[in-house]
Protein backbone atom coordinates (compact mmCIF):
# COMPACT_ATOMS: atom_id res chain seq x y z
CA UNK A 1 0.00 0.00 0.00
CA UNK A 2 1.38 3.42 -0.91
CA UNK A 3 1.00 6.23 1.59
CA UNK A 4 -0.06 9.53 0.07
CA UNK A 5 1.22 12.78 1.58
CA UNK A 6 -1.87 14.22 3.18
CA UNK A 7 -2.30 17.52 5.03
CA UNK A 8 -1.28 17.22 8.67
CA UNK A 9 -2.62 18.99 11.73
CA UNK A 10 -0.15 21.41 13.41
CA UNK A 11 2.67 19.47 15.03
CA UNK A 12 5.28 20.01 17.75
CA UNK A 13 6.93 23.12 16.28
CA UNK A 14 3.62 24.98 16.18
CA UNK A 15 2.78 24.92 19.87
CA UNK A 16 4.46 26.84 22.68
CA UNK A 17 6.20 24.33 24.99
CA UNK A 18 4.31 23.94 28.26
CA UNK A 19 5.06 22.01 31.43
CA UNK A 20 2.56 19.30 30.52
CA UNK A 21 3.82 18.77 26.97
CA UNK A 22 7.52 18.97 27.90
CA UNK A 23 7.20 16.44 30.75
CA UNK A 24 5.23 14.10 28.49
CA UNK A 25 7.75 14.29 25.61
CA UNK A 26 10.65 13.89 28.05
CA UNK A 27 9.00 10.74 29.42
CA UNK A 28 9.02 9.13 26.00
CA UNK A 29 12.56 10.33 25.11
CA UNK A 30 14.00 9.11 28.44
CA UNK A 31 12.17 5.80 27.93
CA UNK A 32 13.81 5.34 24.53
CA UNK A 33 17.23 6.27 25.99
CA UNK A 34 16.74 3.74 28.80
CA UNK A 35 15.85 1.04 26.25
CA UNK A 36 19.31 1.57 24.72
CA UNK A 37 20.70 1.50 28.27
CA UNK A 38 19.20 -1.97 28.67
CA UNK A 39 21.61 -3.20 25.98
CA UNK A 40 24.56 -1.64 27.83
CA UNK A 41 23.31 -3.24 31.06
CA UNK A 42 23.20 -6.63 29.28
CA UNK A 43 26.72 -6.09 27.91
CA UNK A 44 28.01 -5.24 31.41
CA UNK A 45 26.41 -8.40 32.88
CA UNK A 46 27.85 -10.56 30.08
CA UNK A 47 31.30 -9.08 30.72
CA UNK A 48 30.89 -9.81 34.44
CA UNK A 49 29.94 -13.41 33.63
CA UNK A 50 32.92 -13.83 31.26
CA UNK A 51 36.27 -13.08 32.92
CA UNK A 52 38.26 -10.34 34.61
CA UNK A 53 39.71 -9.09 31.30
CA UNK A 54 36.29 -8.71 29.64
CA UNK A 55 35.02 -6.92 32.76
CA UNK A 56 38.05 -4.60 32.77
CA UNK A 57 37.33 -3.70 29.11
CA UNK A 58 33.71 -2.88 29.98
CA UNK A 59 34.77 -0.82 33.02
CA UNK A 60 37.32 1.15 30.98
CA UNK A 61 34.66 1.87 28.32
CA UNK A 62 32.23 3.15 30.97
CA UNK A 63 35.00 5.12 32.74
CA UNK A 64 36.12 6.91 29.55
CA UNK A 65 35.03 10.59 29.24
CA UNK A 66 32.35 9.71 26.67
CA UNK A 67 31.28 6.69 28.73
CA UNK A 68 30.87 8.83 31.85
CA UNK A 69 28.77 11.41 29.98
CA UNK A 70 26.53 8.63 28.66
CA UNK A 71 26.26 7.05 32.13
CA UNK A 72 25.32 10.40 33.71
CA UNK A 73 22.71 10.85 30.96
CA UNK A 74 21.29 7.39 31.71
CA UNK A 75 21.19 8.23 35.43
CA UNK A 76 19.12 11.36 34.73
CA UNK A 77 16.90 9.46 32.27
CA UNK A 78 16.35 6.74 34.88
CA UNK A 79 15.40 9.08 37.74
CA UNK A 80 13.20 11.23 35.47
CA UNK A 81 11.37 8.24 33.97
CA UNK A 82 10.92 6.83 37.49
CA UNK A 83 9.50 10.03 39.02
CA UNK A 84 7.34 10.91 36.02
CA UNK A 85 6.23 7.27 35.80
CA UNK A 86 4.94 7.51 39.37
CA UNK A 87 2.95 10.60 38.26
CA UNK A 88 1.41 8.51 35.48
CA UNK A 89 0.49 5.79 37.98
CA UNK A 90 -1.16 8.41 40.22
CA UNK A 91 -3.15 9.71 37.22
CA UNK A 92 -4.14 6.13 36.37
CA UNK A 93 -5.74 5.92 39.80
CA UNK A 94 -7.91 8.90 38.81
CA UNK A 95 -6.15 11.44 41.04
CA UNK A 96 -3.88 14.47 40.62
CA UNK A 97 -5.54 16.19 37.66
CA UNK A 98 -6.02 19.59 39.37
CA UNK A 99 -3.83 22.44 37.99
CA UNK A 100 -1.92 22.76 41.28
CA UNK A 101 -1.17 19.04 41.51
CA UNK A 102 -0.11 18.91 37.85
CA UNK A 103 2.31 21.83 38.25
CA UNK A 104 3.74 20.50 41.49
CA UNK A 105 4.15 17.00 40.04
CA UNK A 106 5.78 18.23 36.83
CA UNK A 107 8.34 20.39 38.60
CA UNK A 108 8.98 17.65 41.16
CA UNK A 109 9.77 15.20 38.35
CA UNK A 110 12.16 17.64 36.62
CA UNK A 111 13.80 19.09 39.73
CA UNK A 112 13.81 15.80 41.61
CA UNK A 113 15.51 13.88 38.80
CA UNK A 114 18.24 16.55 38.47
CA UNK A 115 18.81 16.52 42.25
CA UNK A 116 18.81 12.71 42.49
CA UNK A 117 21.27 12.40 39.57
CA UNK A 118 23.59 15.00 41.09
CA UNK A 119 23.23 13.30 44.50
CA UNK A 120 23.96 9.87 43.05
CA UNK A 121 27.17 10.96 41.27
CA UNK A 122 28.26 13.16 44.19
CA UNK A 123 27.84 10.13 46.52
CA UNK A 124 29.87 7.94 44.16
CA UNK A 125 32.59 10.60 44.20
CA UNK A 126 32.46 11.18 47.97
CA UNK A 127 32.49 7.44 48.72
CA UNK A 128 35.58 7.20 46.51
CA UNK A 129 34.05 4.87 43.89
CA UNK A 130 35.16 6.97 40.91
Amino acid sequence: MTVRARPLSPHLGYYRPRLGSVTSILHRITGAILAVGLLAFAYWLIALASDAAAYATAQSLFASPLGLIVLIGWTFAFFYHLLNGVRHLIWDSGRGFEPGARRLGGWTAIGGSILLSLGFWASLRLLGRL
Binding site: M1, A49, R129
Partner: protein, 126 residues
Protein backbone atom coordinates in the same frame (compact mmCIF):
# COMPACT_ATOMS: atom_id res chain seq x y z
CA UNK B 1 -23.79 -6.41 -2.98
CA UNK B 2 -23.48 -8.76 -0.08
CA UNK B 3 -26.33 -10.78 1.34
CA UNK B 4 -24.71 -10.85 4.79
CA UNK B 5 -26.45 -8.84 7.47
CA UNK B 6 -24.71 -5.77 8.91
CA UNK B 7 -24.33 -7.60 12.23
CA UNK B 8 -22.80 -10.65 10.53
CA UNK B 9 -20.22 -8.45 8.82
CA UNK B 10 -18.90 -6.79 11.99
CA UNK B 11 -18.98 -9.81 14.28
CA UNK B 12 -15.48 -10.99 15.05
CA UNK B 13 -13.88 -7.77 13.83
CA UNK B 14 -13.99 -5.93 17.11
CA UNK B 15 -12.25 -6.45 20.40
CA UNK B 16 -10.20 -9.62 20.57
CA UNK B 17 -10.68 -9.46 24.36
CA UNK B 18 -7.09 -8.37 24.84
CA UNK B 19 -7.39 -4.63 24.23
CA UNK B 20 -6.23 -3.64 27.70
CA UNK B 21 -3.50 -6.25 28.19
CA UNK B 22 -0.72 -4.00 26.84
CA UNK B 23 -1.83 -1.14 29.09
CA UNK B 24 -1.99 -3.39 32.14
CA UNK B 25 1.34 -5.05 31.38
CA UNK B 26 3.04 -1.68 31.19
CA UNK B 27 1.51 -0.47 34.50
CA UNK B 28 2.10 -3.66 36.48
CA UNK B 29 5.71 -3.93 35.29
CA UNK B 30 6.18 -0.21 36.11
CA UNK B 31 5.00 -0.79 39.69
CA UNK B 32 7.33 -3.79 40.04
CA UNK B 33 10.26 -1.77 38.68
CA UNK B 34 9.98 1.00 41.29
CA UNK B 35 11.35 -1.11 44.20
CA UNK B 36 13.53 -3.36 41.97
CA UNK B 37 15.45 -0.53 40.26
CA UNK B 38 15.81 1.50 43.47
CA UNK B 39 17.13 -1.58 45.29
CA UNK B 40 19.65 -2.23 42.51
CA UNK B 41 20.89 1.37 42.12
CA UNK B 42 21.34 1.91 45.86
CA UNK B 43 22.94 -1.52 46.34
CA UNK B 44 25.60 -0.57 43.79
CA UNK B 45 26.15 2.66 45.70
CA UNK B 46 26.62 0.79 48.98
CA UNK B 47 29.10 -1.80 47.68
CA UNK B 48 32.70 -1.09 48.80
CA UNK B 49 33.76 -0.88 45.12
CA UNK B 50 32.62 -2.02 41.69
CA UNK B 51 35.49 -4.47 41.05
CA UNK B 52 35.08 -7.80 39.25
CA UNK B 53 35.50 -9.90 42.43
CA UNK B 54 33.22 -7.70 44.56
CA UNK B 55 30.36 -7.75 42.06
CA UNK B 56 30.59 -11.48 41.43
CA UNK B 57 30.59 -12.20 45.17
CA UNK B 58 27.60 -9.89 45.60
CA UNK B 59 25.63 -11.53 42.75
CA UNK B 60 26.33 -14.95 44.26
CA UNK B 61 24.15 -14.25 47.28
CA UNK B 62 20.93 -16.13 46.43
CA UNK B 63 18.65 -13.15 47.12
CA UNK B 64 20.82 -10.79 45.03
CA UNK B 65 20.99 -13.12 42.04
CA UNK B 66 17.25 -13.76 42.23
CA UNK B 67 16.30 -10.07 42.47
CA UNK B 68 18.74 -9.04 39.72
CA UNK B 69 17.40 -11.72 37.36
CA UNK B 70 13.85 -10.59 38.22
CA UNK B 71 14.84 -6.95 37.63
CA UNK B 72 16.42 -7.73 34.28
CA UNK B 73 13.40 -9.74 33.12
CA UNK B 74 10.81 -7.12 34.12
CA UNK B 75 13.01 -4.33 32.73
CA UNK B 76 13.24 -6.07 29.36
CA UNK B 77 9.48 -6.66 29.28
CA UNK B 78 8.71 -3.03 30.19
CA UNK B 79 11.21 -1.76 27.60
CA UNK B 80 9.66 -3.99 24.92
CA UNK B 81 6.15 -2.68 25.63
CA UNK B 82 7.34 0.94 25.66
CA UNK B 83 9.48 0.93 22.51
CA UNK B 84 6.71 -0.96 20.70
CA UNK B 85 4.33 1.96 21.25
CA UNK B 86 6.93 4.39 19.86
CA UNK B 87 7.18 2.39 16.60
CA UNK B 88 3.38 2.04 16.40
CA UNK B 89 2.99 5.81 16.87
CA UNK B 90 5.53 7.04 14.32
CA UNK B 91 6.02 4.32 11.69
CA UNK B 92 2.96 4.11 9.49
CA UNK B 93 4.04 2.29 6.32
CA UNK B 94 3.37 -1.45 6.63
CA UNK B 95 6.80 -2.92 5.79
CA UNK B 96 8.99 -0.68 8.00
CA UNK B 97 6.46 -1.02 10.82
CA UNK B 98 6.49 -4.82 10.63
CA UNK B 99 10.29 -4.92 10.43
CA UNK B 100 10.55 -2.44 13.31
CA UNK B 101 8.18 -4.38 15.56
CA UNK B 102 9.79 -7.74 14.78
CA UNK B 103 13.25 -6.19 15.24
CA UNK B 104 12.25 -4.84 18.67
CA UNK B 105 10.92 -8.23 19.71
CA UNK B 106 14.11 -9.93 18.50
CA UNK B 107 16.43 -7.47 20.26
CA UNK B 108 14.49 -7.66 23.53
CA UNK B 109 14.31 -11.46 23.61
CA UNK B 110 18.03 -11.55 22.82
CA UNK B 111 19.01 -8.93 25.43
CA UNK B 112 16.68 -10.40 28.07
CA UNK B 113 17.88 -13.94 27.49
CA UNK B 114 21.57 -12.99 27.40
CA UNK B 115 21.30 -10.76 30.49
CA UNK B 116 19.49 -13.35 32.62
CA UNK B 117 21.81 -16.12 31.41
CA UNK B 118 24.82 -13.97 32.44
CA UNK B 119 23.32 -13.38 35.91
CA UNK B 120 22.67 -17.11 36.36
CA UNK B 121 26.19 -17.96 35.23
CA UNK B 122 27.63 -15.69 37.91
CA UNK B 123 25.09 -16.78 40.53
CA UNK B 124 25.77 -20.50 40.09
CA UNK B 125 29.52 -19.99 39.57
CA UNK B 126 31.59 -21.59 36.86
Amino acid sequence: MSLRSPLGRVLGLGSAKSGTSHWWGQRVSAVALVPLTLWFVFSLLLLPNLDFETLRAWLQYPITGFLTALLFGVLTYHSYLGTRVIVEDYVHAEAPKLIGLLGLRFVHVLAGGAGIFAILRVAFGT
